[in-house]
């Protein structure tokens, strides 16, 4: 056995074990069940920043997310997402300064509107409403604001409700999910509405904040179960900048694509570790963002 074979043999054995358990992709949680999620995505991004004198935010960021959900009943569950960002923000002349920021924590309720089963396949439709606590960090030096903008870029501009300071986001969403033994297909549409509660330290002379903003995010994921332990998934997402919560100070593409390739490593039916690689092809982030990282999910 050469070195390469020695390296890959355990992985192949791991990957080709027969399917013995249903993956943890059952829609929803059993009543009284809970789920804990954690995420760490690291990436570099250059994103629009709507201050006339600082029209872009550039740098590296680690987007940390702690999330939990609890199923009160068969159709109803409650969710909490807490995003935190640490990173380095490029200054105009090219130096980097470290910064950290809290995003807007999200409290949500998810209701399963419909579920159908047919043999091994299931179809589920859910609706959700999330309300963000307007706690995202901001400061006079705009460092937290900028590191949040970079984090928004790392996530493909697809989670503006997490990373927009000075607003209370209210996000309505619906998700349709079809799952079989091998395939899971899921689509989601989210409509984050931003209600401004403060100027978030943005200078009035060089910014134009709006009292209301609105975006739409449509995404779809296709996941294939390679083995008992492994799944491979690809995600595509489109962000639509309908009414920016801060008026753009330069021409900014109003549509943003985002693509993610993920490897799921399942641990029985209750847990999974996900390795993500994500980027954008066009829009403001095309050629200006690449990121990757880990997500972990455990059900109780």
């Amino acid at each position: 056995m050469n070195g390469r074979s020695a390296l890959f043999a355990p992985l192949l054995m791991f990957a080709t074990q027969p399917v013995l358990a249903e993956p943890s992709n059952e829609p929803g949680l059993a009543p009284g069940g809970a789920r804990i999620e954690a995420q760490a995505h690291f990436g570099v991004a250059t994103t629009p920043f709507d201050v006339t004198t600082l029209a872009e935010a550039k740098g590296q960021a680690v987007v940390l997310l702690a999330a939990g959900s609890y199923a009160l009943s068969e159709p109803l569950s409650f969710e909490l997402h807490i995003p935190v960002v640490v990173g380095s923000v490029a200054q105009p002349a090219g130096s980097y300064i470290d910064a950290a920021a809290l995003g807007n924590p999200q409290l949500g309720a998810r209701y399963r509107l419909m579920q159908r089963r047919s043999g091994e396949a299931s179809l589920a439709l859910a609706g959700a409403v999330d309300v963000g606590l307007p706690l995202a960090s901001h400061a006079e030096d705009l460092m937290p604001n900028r590191v949040l903008a970079i984090a928004d870029g790392v996530e493909g501009r697809g989670r503006p409700e997490w990373f927009t300071p000075g607003v209370m986001p209210i996000t309505a969403s619906s998700a349709l999910r079809w799952a079989s033994a091998a395939w899971t297909l899921e689509t989601e549409l989210r409509l984050p509405l931003f209600v401004r509660v403060s100027e978030a330290d943005l200078p009035s002379a060089t910014t134009n904040t709006r009292s209301i903003g609105l975006a739409a995010v449509a995404s779809g994921e296709a996941r294939y179960r390679l083995s008992r332990r492994l799944s491979l998934a690809t995600t595509a997402q489109l962000f639509f900048d309908i009414v920016p919560s801060v008026a753009h100070v330069r021409g900014v593409s109003r549509v943003q694509d985002f693509e993610r390739l993920s490897l799921y490593i399942h641990f029985g039916s209750r847990g999974a570790l996900v390795v993500d690689l994500q980027t954008a092809i066009a829009g403001e982030l095309g050629g200006a963002m690449v990121a990757g990282g880990l997500r972990g999910v455990v059900d109780f």
Partner: protein
Amino acid sequence: MSSSEPVRVAKRPDRFPEGTRVWKQFSVRGARIETRLLEKRGPSDADWLSLAYSWDPDGKDALAAPLGVIDAQHTDHDVPAAGECWACHGGRRSFILGFSAVQLAASAAAGEIDLADLIEQGRLSRPPASAPVVPGNSVEAAALGYLHANCSHCHNQTRPARSGARCFDPDNSDDFTLAVGQLDGVASTPTYRTVVGHAVKRGDPDDSKLYKLVSSRGMFRQMPPLATEKVDTAAVANLRAWIEGL
């Protein structure tokens, strides 16, 4: 300098009197874009105020820009944030850059100041006996001068230990300084003693780390790392000729 106290000179100016103010102005196609100010506001080496002012498009007023400006007045000139000044200026005890005997030795234009003026006005604590001359032929002198002016404020072996913000931690083994007392010949300069044979491979610019970095731009693959987005093609051509001739 508002004070009658002279600039304290050891081998190079290393302490300016309280009240010293230094301005630097940037224009693009004749239009004023930015004016930078450094002001010594106290007795210690850390008592410098650094701030850039960004000019209005009509050129009538300039406003402090502590956060800096990206692409000021729709040019490709970036105004640095106040905190960035320390990244380069913090590499010298004097904080002021460019105010060295070598860089002031040439005769200044009318209305500007040069080394002879400073000596005549009694502004230096230890004035040099004669104006220093950069050693070497024209290519060597130009290369040494470029490296001194653009690299030595970070890459020198007398960098002060500062607790303030510094954006980078440059390699201290390299020293590009040109200083009075080390100008007897090219071999006497710190550049030849610490860089040639290491970051510079004799006769081979394409395999020289220094040449690769000064001739490219991009995150983590350019020198200087700050305040430059374009390659200085004339300087790079001279550096190439210098390395090929080593």
